[in-house]
């Protein structure tokens, strides 16, 4: 694999071809803030706080470092007035949902983000997708996913899978930057998990059709975030 040489914040950095700027920076001990990044997961490019400035043949552009592949002779600046301003706005936008998330509070301090700049929508989830992607890519259970889109998008456990898989796993829990995931799980467990009697009845009679139509908790409920 060929070696790529470039510069981050004035420091010469070596990286392997195909690496992202973020990976190269992390290997060189240079910090770039992230929210949706996880080393075991495919880059997602959702939170955009890892945005950096890249200068290439005299042209400067903003790119997100978690997906941008390293190239020879580029100059990367992990901080600039513009980068900081954008990170600040992103943090403020997310604080409208999860104002007390320790990760956000810490980043807010660094970038001077104002906690109450935007009107609150206390849904707590910041849609980093760590839980959903970890469950799909690492745990390979697909016990939860995103439902709906845009501003109505939310995470949702699939009760039939979650009831079987989650209790012994819960590896996604510590990944959540806002603790909303745990709340969502508890709500799903309490409201929508299939009842044990139903499960055992199903075990005895494998011919039963439509195995998700009955549950004890009251219909197909997903926890509402409103």
């Amino acid at each position: 694999m060929s070696e790529i040489q470039f510069e981050i914040d004035g420091k010469e950095v070596n990286a392997d071809e195909g690496m992202t700027i973020l990976e190269a920076a992390q290997r060189a001990g240079i910090f770039i803030p992230t929210l949706c990044h996880h080393e075991k997961l495919e880059p997602y490019g959702g939170c955009r706080v890892c945005i950096v400035e890249v200068e290439e043949r005299g042209w400067t552009k903003l790119v997100v470092s978690c997906v941008y592949p390293v190239q020879n002779d580029i100059i990367v600046r992990t901080r600039s007035e513009k980068v900081d301003r954008i990170r600040k706005t992103i943090i403020e936008l997310l604080m409208a949902h999860a104002p007390d998330s320790p990760q956000l509070v810490e980043m807010a301090k660094e970038y001077g983000a104002v906690r109450d700049r935007f009107e609150k929508d206390p849904s707590f989830c910041i849609h980093c997708g760590l839980c959903v992607r970890y469950c799909a890519e690492v745990a390979k259970k697909n016990a939860l996913g995103f439902v709906d889109r845009g501003i109505n998008k939310e995470i949702s456990f699939i009760p039939e899978i979650a009831a079987k898989e989650c209790n012994d796993c819960k590896e996604c829990f510590p990944l959540c930057p806002t603790s909303y995931l745990q709340a969502c799980y508890v709500l799903t467990e309490g409201l929508a998990f299939p009842s044990p009697s139903f499960e055992s009845a199903q075990g005895k009679n494998n011919n039963t059709e439509g195995n998700i139509s009955i549950n004890s908790g009251g219909g197909e409920m997903t926890p509402s975030t409103d």
Binding site: G46, V67, K82, L93, R149
Partner: protein
């Protein structure tokens, strides 16, 4: 149908189809596009067929439902060839008269002709109507001539001759070079040169490549692609096959939105017909080139018009854009090189191959060649589809083709480029339409939406409307778009409701910067445009809303009040009776007063007040005069002098 094995067989079939018809025999073409069908075209077609049968004319007269010619404002449109007599707003009951006069006789039915509103002159031929006269119709012109469900009709007008030419007389490289030379730029939005896109895919080392039609038209008020898909599906298919040949791809896809059922039906039928004729499949026209096409229906997400989201959706996953920085012509569908072009782009390809790149580049501006279809809608006299040469001014499109603003209102702005385009004000109407020209003016070409707005349109509310649309359509993956738009929509809504605050404009600007610079895909990056372009040209309107709580166009409901001018009110009781919330106090001979507490600003009183009184007025940002004292409200009849 036996498969055509060679270009000669295709040519022979064409001759055979043409020989079946006497070109002097009348052909009645009735637009069966979505707009005309909504105005009753199906009944008109039925009536013509019945009448022709009744009069025993079936052997000499051809009757067909065709694609959309674009003059939707005046639908159902009927054109009688070869004389090209064009009848507008035809109803089933007009049919016997038309057949009597224009088919059996040699006359025209005057009352169904187009009348120029300025001169009062009647236009007999389609080409005499100002709406058509000033257009240059290359891609759209065949819509009215062919039954979109008939491959014979398409073959009769020279269909698939470009494919035959490409396969038998040109190498794949020559086809690519011709398209490159034509400087055909993508008609779907970004205007990327199609030839360069094709070349990238062609040169990519992967042996499997794809060509895709982006038929996920989702802009509010846009129906250019729909008209082509429904009206002339073979032209797009032919372009796609030629594209596949040029980049060495053997598989193509149509990504059509489910909301276009007729388009889906016609495309599927076109593919079947092309297959049975040997124009798709193995060894097409003995060239050794194999090609197959599939149709995929999108579920109606605006974001799936974005290239990477479309491909993700085509793979069967949730339609969200990919965060990668690799171009999809190198790594696209299933990570293979994929050329994605818009419907109109593909439909231009057969023309370029047939007539050559030099012909194509003879029309247009320096950097925007050929023609472009726009859907001209909004406050415009002639709503419809227009195809114009690049470089025509906005003024000519709006006034010469569109016939100007109805009801004597003043023009205010034209919004181009779809929801994430921008608004262009009156002093920029001399702008020549082209990709770079529109971008420079703070708008964009987009896929060709053109919404005209008059003086009654509030530009802040326009921005709010489009941001609302984009908020709904954001996929929600990245923060700057999902959260930024949510907040922008909230702030804009507040401003239009009189709850704007100092600093709102700056906050909107900060959110716009974040979305433009940091969003994942083109939808997010361009989403603040409705705000940015209206701020650029109509900043005073924003400031009036925020500082004075005034809506200069008297349109934002919560910033206007209805007031009855006591000197004009004749106490006729009409408004008092019609008011749905009983907010008008008054009686016979007692001057009416609007109770501002009860009034919901619905505007009914203004609508019903007789024009000769004209007593109801809208006020915004100013004190409402105190109501007349009770004792002065009685109207005493003045004696005639």
């Amino acid at each position: 149908m036996a498969r055509l094995k060679t270009p000669e067989e295709l040519q022979n079939l064409r001759q055979e189809i043409l020989s079946r018809k006497d070109p002097d025999n009348p052909c009645i073409s009735i637009c069966a596009g979505a707009g005309c069908v909504a105005s009753g075209a199906d009944e008109v077609i039925e009536a013509f067929k019945n009448e022709i049968e009744k009069q025993n004319l079936t052997t000499t007269v051809d009757t067909k439902g065709t694609g959309c010619p674009g003059f939707c404002e005046w639908g159902p449109v009927v054109v009688i060839y070869p004389k090209e007599i064009c009848y507008l707003q035809v109803k089933a009951e007009d049919v016997p008269e038309i057949v009597e006069q224009s088919i059996k006789g040699n006359k025209v039915v005057e009352r169904l002709l187009y009348e120029d509103p300025a001169t009062g002159e009647k236009a007999v031929k389609e080409s005499d109507i100002s709406f058509y006269k000033n257009q240059e119709r290359t891609v759209l012109c065949n819509n009215i001539k062919i039954d979109s469900k008939s491959i014979d009709d398409y073959l009769a007008i020279g269909g698939y001759s470009a494919l035959a030419k490409a396969l038998s007389k040109m190498t794949d490289v020559e086809v690519l070079e011709e398209v490159k030379k034509s400087n055909l730029r993508g008609r779907g939005g970004a205007g990327f040169p199609a030839g360069r896109k094709w070349e990238g895919s062609r040169n990519a080392p992967e042996p499997i490549k794809y060509v895709i039609v982006n038929a996920d038209e989702g802009d509010p008020g846009a129906f250019m692609d729909r008209a082509l898909l429904e009206g002339n599906p073979h032209s797009i298919l032919e372009g796609l096959i030629i594209g596949g040949y040029a980049i060495n791809s053997n598989e193509g896809y149509f990504y059509v939105r489910q909301e276009y059922p007729l388009a889906v039906e016609n495309i599927n039928l076109a593919i079947k017909q092309a297959e049975s004729h040997g124009l798709l499949g193995k060894n097409i026209l003995d060239s050794g080139f194999d090609f197959k096409v599939f149709v995929h229906q999108g579920a109606g997400a605006f974001v799936c018009g974005e290239s990477t989201a479309l491909m993700t959706s085509l793979e069967g996953k949730v339609g969200e854009p990919r965060p990668k920085y690799t171009r999809s012509n190198i790594k696209g569908l299933w990570n293979k090189p994929s050329v994605l072009n818009n419907v109109e782009t593909w439909a231009n390809v057969p023309h370029i191959i047939n007539k050559g790149a030099d012909w194509f580049t003879s029309v247009g501006t320096e950097n925007s060649k050929g023609t472009k279809i726009f859907s001209l809608v909004g406050k415009i006299t002639n709503t419809g589809l227009v195809e114009i040469p690049m470089g025509m001014t906005l003024k000519d499109i709006i006034y010469k083709i569109g016939g100007g603003i109805p009801d004597g209102k003043k023009f205010k702005a034209v919004q181009t480029g779809g929801p994430s385009g921008g608004c262009i004000p009156e002093d920029k109407l001399d702008l020549e339409v082209g990709f770079d020209e529109l971008t420079k003016a703070g708008s964009m070409m987009g896929s060709g939406g053109m919404i005209v707005m008059d003086e009654d349109t509030c530009m802040v509310d326009v921005a709010r409307y489009f941001i609302n649309f984009l908020t709904d359509e954001s996929c929600g993956k990245c923060v700057p778009c999902r959260e930024g738009l949510r907040q922008m929509h909230r702030i804009l809504t507040n401003i239009t409701r009189g709850k704007g605050k100092e600093g709102d404009i700056e906050l909107l600007e900060a959110l716009s910067e974040t979305a433009v610079e940091a969003s994942l895909c083109a939808l997010g990056k361009s989403a603040p445009n409705p705000f940015l372009s209206t701020l650029r040209y109509f900043r005073d309107e924003y400031e009036a809303h925020i500082k004075e709580k005034r809506c200069p166009s008297l349109s934002c409901k919560e910033l206007i009040a209805y007031y009855i001018d006591p000197s004009k009110c004749q106490a006729c009781m009409i408004c008092a009776r019609k008011c749905p919330v009983e907010a008008i106090d008054g009686g016979k001979k007692k001057i009416h007063i609007v109770d501002q507490e009860k009034c919901t600003s619905c505007g009914t009183c203004l609508e019903v007040c007789p024009p000769r009184f004209n007593a109801v007025i809208k006020l915004s940002g100013q004190e409402i005069p105190d109501p007349l004292p009770e004792e002065e409200r009685m109207i005493t009849k003045k004696s005639k002098k």
